[in-house]
């Protein structure tokens, strides 16, 4: 059961500075929750680089290869029909579908990949228990610090307030 201490800041600048401050104080398990992406926060939180590009590439190549294979198998192998005297293995004619399939499977994989990477759908996240957290998608810039014990909680509380949080709240998954 996780517990977090959430602090709200008014601007993206404050959020960035607070995150740096917390980091300097040794808090590493942090998350920022903001109405729009804040430049620079990824570095502060040292998020690992996304592997979505690789996923897209693999899916795209897979889609393309699959599409070519299906076309070749159906037109030239399984039932070779004489269609207008054209070659059975009509490579150039297969290209459009290969391309479209590549885009389709890459885009589909990326969409699913984003959802999976974001852990969505998750409509019952404990943060949503906090009424004030609604501002996170409007004009509030929140920092969430994962706390393990009461000592940690108190330390984080103090640090957040010291860094200028407009308000600090505790979210406890176990207390739902």
């Amino acid at each position: 059961m996780s517990r977090w201490l959430l602090g709200e800041f008014r601007t993206s600048q404050q959020l960035l500075e607070a995150a740096r401050g917390l980091r300097a104080r040794g808090f590493t398990r942090m998350d920022a929750l903001t109405p729009f992406p804040v430049e620079g926060i990824d570095e502060v939180l040292s998020l690992p680089p996304s592997r979505l590009p690789l996923l897209g590439l693999v899916a795209g190549v897979g889609g393309a290869g699959g599409a070519y294979l299906v076309q070749w198998f159906t037109q030239a192998v399984d039932w070779p029909l004489d269609v207008g005297g054209r070659p059975l293995h009509s490579g150039p004619a297969f290209i459009p579908i290969v391309f479209e399939s590549a885009v389709l499977s890459a885009a589909g994989a990326l969409f699913l990949g984003v959802l999976v990477a974001c852990g969505l759908p998750r409509v019952t996240h404990p943060f949503f228990d906090l009424e004030d957290f609604r501002s996170a998608s409007i004009d509030g810039f929140w920092l969430a610090v994962t706390v393990v014990d009461d000592a940690g909680r108190d330390a984080a509380d103090a640090a957040l307030r010291a860094l200028g949080a407009a308000q600090v709240s505790l979210v406890d998954e176990a207390r739902r």
């Binding site: 903001t34 729009f36 897209g56 037109q75 990326l110 759908p121 996240h125 949503f128 004009d139």
Partner: protein
């Protein structure tokens, strides 16, 4: 001008970039102003338009039923003109559908900031246009209930589709385009759905938005993956736009009919698609801007840049027209020359010259900056371009078919009431979809506008600091 009081008034300060966002607002204000149509009750005008569009949709349903149960013979098609309104409407709608992805994806890749005010509406328009377009390939079939023959599944017949046909490519392309634009659109919507969830007051609305937003929290991890994914999808969507209309043009260019069989078609179709899509964006955007009071986010700068784009696309299209006729003449093939000459002087010449006027002459207005920023002129021009682009497809589809190789088979074409109902019915369906979109979803991406303002503010701040430093004694030189 917007009725939301900016937190800082429009200033004369040259360092404040006023053009893309008039005034500076609190993030809450931005959300409120952009969500107002979604959260507030609809006005009588909205209901009236919904009424008109619904009536057209009823007409569409009637026409579809007649087509399905009596046959595609209720259309005006004949032999040799075996394709007509169905394909014309399809190409027109799919062309319109191209602007959304263009604005969204290509401008995203180029980092154009003005994109964020218009992309949501353009994308929504794309979806409804592609949906309207998708109706036609199905309806125009002689036996629509056998559409599954197009799917490569292992059937008990042991038969497969025929992948050398541009129509097979077409089906895959449309489905891909529809799927990818839907995913792209939905992905762009996620943060705004969360905003709507958190702004709404009634619990049921919050729950509805809550489900749709899938639990978006705006965490740094969310944003990171979202931005990567969104950018990659934009990267995929960009060649997709080009490929889809290229493939649509293959329906014609791969055939050997004089007037269809020409290599200029792919670029010419893509340009035409973007052209018509931009025109349709403007057709919808300008009234929406006025009615929803979005002047603060859709500024004159946006109108200006859209008009410039329209002009550029129009020039491309004009080039296509000229090349098509030049090829016809220079190639020296008598059949091709005939196909081109009947465009200019044949039974459909009035349509052709209307096309020329609407698509080539009208956009030339936008060499003037004053006209570029006049909503009335823009809207009128956009409407004319819509008409012109529909007629262009009419001329492309019908004219070469009606007079091809053997004069004995030449015959002209006239639409029936079912044809006209299908066209107007899809206009109604498209309008209805767009009206519902305006009512149900934020028409301008809220988070992007907030981010834009944040960026503008920080660059302004930076500029101020630089200026201040320069002005400070001892600073600068």
């Amino acid at each position: 001008m917007s009725d939301v009081a900016p937190k800082a008034p429009v200033t004369e300060d040259p360092l404040v970039e006023a053009t893309l966002l008039e005034g500076r607002y609190s993030n809450d204000q931005i959300g409120q102003s952009l969500l107002r149509p979604v959260l507030g009750p609809p006005g009588w005008g909205w209901w009236a338009l919904v009424g008109v569009c619904s009536a057209l949709v009823v007409l569409l349903v009637v026409a579809i039923c007649v087509t399905l149960f009596v046959g595609v013979g209720t259309w005006g098609n004949n032999i040799p003109v075996a394709w007509a309104f169905g394909i014309i409407n399809f190409v027109w709608w799919i062309g319109i559908g191209h602007a959304g992805t263009l604005i969204s994806a290509i401008l995203l890749l180029f980092g154009e900031k003005w994109r964020s005010s218009v992309n949501r509406m353009a994308e929504a328009m794309t979806l409804f246009a592609v949906a309207c377009a998708g109706l036609f390939p199905l309806l125009h079939l002689g036996r629509p209930w056998k559409f599954y023959y197009l799917v490569p599944y292992p059937s008990s017949l042991r038969m497969w589709p025929q992948f050398r046909s541009p129509l097979t490519w077409d089906i895959v392309a449309i489905l891909t385009y529809l799927t990818v634009s839907t995913l792209f659109w939905y992905m762009g919507l996620l943060p705004d759905l969360a905003t709507a969830r958190d702004t709404a007051k009634e619990t049921w609305k919050r729950r509805a938005w809550g489900l749709l937003s899938l639990g978006w929290r705006g965490s740094a991890r969310h944003w990171r993956n979202w931005r990567t994914g969104y950018l990659l999808m934009a990267g995929l969507a960009t060649p997709l736009v080009v490929s889809v209309h290229t493939i649509v043009s293959f329906d014609f260019a791969v055939a050997q009919l004089p007037g269809w069989h020409t290599t200029i078609f792919p670029p010419y179709f893509v340009a035409g698609a973007i052209f018509s899509g931009l025109a349709m964006v403007m057709t919808l955007l300008l009234p929406a801007r006025r009615v929803l009071r979005l002047h603060h986010v859709i500024t004159e700068a946006h109108l200006d840049v859209l008009a410039r784009l329209l002009l550029v696309a129009g020039l491309f299209v004009a080039y296509g027209y000229i090349q098509e006729h030049f090829f016809g003449w220079y190639g020296g093939d008598p059949y091709e020359m005939h196909a081109m000459s009947i465009l200019r002087t044949g039974p459909y010449a009035p349509a052709f010259w209307t096309v020329f006027t609407c698509n080539v002459l009208v956009p030339q207005l936008f060499w003037s900056r004053r006209l570029r920023t006049s909503p009335a002129v823009l809207w009128g021009a956009a409407l004319l371009v819509n008409v012109g682009m529909w007629l262009e497809r009419f001329v492309i589809v019908v004219s070469p078919l009606s007079e091809d190789f053997l004069p004995s088979s030449w015959r002209h074409y006239a639409p029936t009431w079912v044809d006209l109902s299908l066209l107007s019915g899809t206009v109604g369906l498209f309008g209805l979809g767009f009206l519902l979109f305006l009512k149900l979803l934020p028409p301008v991406p809220i988070s992007e506008v907030k981010q834009l303002q944040d960026e503008l503010e920080s660059s302004e701040r930076f500029a101020r600091e630089v200026v201040a430093e320069a002005r400070a004694p001892g600073g600068g030189a």
